[in-house]
Symmetry: C2
């Protein structure tokens, strides 16, 4: 196989860039890794009858019942319409149910059904073993480093990340 990447932007600097890795590889690499992760997760999650993307909803709800779609979306990092549809499908699948808030008619609260509750530990297992497979051969320290860098990248990419130090909470 021919490994001809990186030769187009060979930096003539005195740095010892052994592999020619730089920021231009960031997007493809993250994307590719995430795709592999998603595929692996889909396989593992399929035994529970769910799809990748639904696991987070169950786990978040297992930690805190009665969240609203907006809160769930914010927590999982997806947009509200996406969460609405995923919730709708999962409701049809019988994993959770919507309940209208009594005090505020705008809000919809989401609760796990008995069926959904049963899948929690299985999902946890799926996510765990998927993470373990991904981290095979990595030291504990390397995993923490990876997570830390990933979170920094994530923050950097937040569009509403204006550094207004004033709290904008309600």
């Amino acid at each position: 196989m021919s490994k001809k990447k990186g030769d187009k932007k060979a930096k003539p600097g005195k740095k010892k860039d052994h592999a020619g890795l730089s920021v231009v590889d960031l997007a493809p690499t993250i994307t590719h890794a995430a795709r592999s992760m998603r595929t692996a997760l889909t396989r593992s999650l399929g035994e529970s009858g769910l799809y990748a993307g639904q696991d987070g909803v169950i786990l978040a709800l297992a930690e805190e019942e009665g969240m609203t779609p907006g809160q769930l979306a914010l927590r999982l990092g997806v947009k509200a319409p996406t969460m609405t549809r995923t919730i709708g499908r999962m409701e049809a699948q019988g994993f959770l149910e919507r309940r209208a808030d009594e005090t505020d008619g705008r809000l919809t609260k989401v609760f796990l059904t008995h069926n959904g509750l049963k899948t929690v530990e299985q999902i946890g297992r799926s996510v765990s073993e998927c993470g373990e497979q991904a981290a095979r051969g990595l030291s504990d320290k390397e995993v923490r480093t990876l997570l830390k860098l990933l979170k920094l990248v994530e923050q950097n990419l937040q569009p509403a990340q204006e550094e207004d130090q004033d709290s904008l909470d309600d």
Copy 2:
């Protein structure tokens, strides 16, 4: 199973420091970061008239014309059907064209059109600035570390990467 460094189960709150980061966070964190990256890339790529996922096809073809859908899929880490449809759409968009191989009737070769060729550098710019935004505040060394770890994760998640050869140990 040759490593014994950290195969204990993820027990919350057992270790020392800041946050209880462990392998169970790997899947959500990578997923979340990749989503943010994809969203940012979609915005940037939109000016060129493309969608996230199409950029890699153009760039791969710019490096090596006449690749088959299967080769492209393998290179970009997606499944063949996905690549077929993406190619079809991009062909309709006028960025590339399909040409039947003369010697082998099974093969389809993909070539950039003049229009597609014109977008190459713009795509490169989009990917670059997106990577730079993601890497904001990270040192060069940190970026390389992140890329290295990501590639390891990616390799670990390849399903067809069984231990047919024991030389690919850690």
